[in-house]
C-alpha cells in the first residue's frame, strides 16, 4: 500500500496515472460508499466516484501533503455528491410531478444481485433522515468502524455514534 508521500512523489515525478491507480486501489470502495450514502443509488454513486477520481487525477500534481490524502479525497467526494444530489433534485423539480416521483422511487434503491431482503432493508434505510442514512450506510459498508465513518463524513466520532444509535432504534422498530 502506497503512503501519501509515495503518491505525492509519483504525481510530482510525472507518473500521475500510477499515483491515481494506487489511490483508486486504496479508496475506491470508500469513495463509492460515501457517494452512495448521499445518493442512495449505485449507478449515480459510481458516476460520482468516477468524477471524483478524474478530479483527483487533475489535482494530484498540486497535492502538497498538508492534509491526509484520504481527507482530501473525502472532501472532493462530499462536494461532488452534494452537487449530484442538487442536480438530480433540480432535474426532478423541472419535470412532471409523476415523472419526478418515478425518478425518486427509481433512484432511491437500485436493485442488485444481493437479493430482495437486502433491497428491503436498504429501502427502510432510505426512509431515515440524510445524516442517519449516511452513517448507517457507511458503518455497515466500512467494516463497522466509527472512526472511519467520522473521517468520511467530517463529523466527530461521538456524533456518529449518536446518529447510529438513533438510526438503529428507528430501524429496529420498523424491522
Amino acid at each position: 500500500m502506497l503512503t501519501d508521500d509515495g503518491v505525492m512523489a509519483l504525481a510530482r515525478s510525472g507518473r500521475r496515472d500510477e499515483a491515481l491507480a494506487a489511490v483508486v486501489r486504496q479508496l475506491r470502495r470508500k469513495v463509492f460508499g460515501l457517494a452512495y450514502s448521499y445518493l442512495g443509488n449505485r449507478d449515480a454513486a459510481e458516476d460520482v466516484a468516477q468524477d471524483v477520481f478524474i478530479k483527483l487525477w487533475r489535482a494530484l500534481p498540486d497535492y502538497d501533503g498538508r492534509a491526509a490524502l484520504s481527507t482530501w479525497v473525502y472532501a472532493i467526494t462530499r462536494n461532488a455528491s452534494l452537487s449530484a444530489l442538487r442536480a438530480r433534485r433540480s432535474a426532478a423539480s423541472l419535470s412532471d410531478p409523476e415523472v419526478s416521483a418515478e425518478v425518486d422511487s427509481a433512484s432511491a434503491v437500485a436493485p442488485d444481485e444481493s437479493g430482495p431482503e437486502a433491497e428491503a432493508v436498504r429501502r427502510l434505510v432510505e426512509q431515515l433522515p440524510l445524516k442517519q442514512r449516511q452513517v448507517v450506510t457507511l458503518f455497515y459498508m466500512q467494516e463497522q468502524s466509527h472512526e472511519e465513518v467520522a473521517a468520511m463524513l467530517a463529523m466527530p466520532v461521538g456524533t456518529v455514534k449518536t446518529l447510529l444509535h438513533r438510526a438503529r432504534a428507528r430501524l429496529s422498530e420498523a424491522v
Binding site: 470502495r29 468516477q50 478524474i54 431482503e117 455497515y140 459498508m141 424491522v175
Partner: protein, 149 residues
C-alpha cells in the same frame, strides 16, 4: 416499555451488514476510469500543446516588435556618423552665409541668380563638395546594407 437496558441490535446488525457489506463498484469500474483518464490525458495534451503554441507565437511577435524597434533605433544611430554630422554643419554654415545674398536677390536688390552664385562661389562649391563627400559613405551603405551590419 423501556427497561433501561441498551437494546439488542444483533439481528438488525446482521440484516444491515447483509444489505450493505456487499455493496461495491461494478467490475468494469477500473476499466471505465482508465479509459476516461486516457481521454482526459489526450485532451490535456492537446490543450497544453495549444497553449504552448499560443505562447510561442506571442513570444515571437513580441521579439519581432522589440527587434524592429531596436533596428530602427540602430539605423537612426548609424546615420549620425562623423561624415553626416560634418555635412550637416557645412549645410548649416552655407545656409547661414548665403541667406543674406539670397534674400537680397529675392528682394530684387541683386541683378540675378547667376551673379549671386558667382559672388559666393568660394563658399558654395567647397560646401557642396564637403556635403557630397560627407554623404557618400551613407549612400554607399544604403546601397550595400550588408556592409553596415
Amino acid at each position: 416499555m423501556s427497561t433501561g437496558m441498551p437494546p439488542d441490535f444483533r439481528v438488525l446488525d446482521e440484516r444491515l451488514t447483509g444489505a450493505f457489506a456487499g455493496l461495491d463498484v461494478s467490475p468494469d469500474f477500473d476499466a471505465r476510469l482508465t479509459a476516461r483518464v486516457a481521454r482526459e490525458s489526450e485532451r490535456d495534451f492537446a490543450q497544453r500543446l495549444g497553449q504552448a503554441r499560443r505562447l510561442e507565437q506571442e513570444r515571437y511577435r513580441s521579439a519581432r516588435r522589440h527587434r524592429g524597434w531596436r533596428l530602427e533605433f540602430r539605423a537612426l544611430l548609424r546615420v549620425f556618423t562623423l561624415e553626416t554630422v560634418g555635412a550637416a554643419v557645412l549645410v548649416a554654415l552655407a545656409a547661414t552665409t548665403l541667406s543674406s545674398p539670397f534674400t537680397a536677390w529675392a528682394d530684387g536688390q541683386m541683378p540675378g541668380l547667376a551673379d549671386v552664385l558667382r559672388q559666393n562661389a568660394t563658399i558654395i562649391w567647397p560646401s557642396l563638395l564637403g556635403i557630397v563627400l560627407g554623404l557618400c559613405p551613407l549612400l554607399l551603405r544604403r546601397r550595400r546594407p550588408h556592409l553596415s551590419t
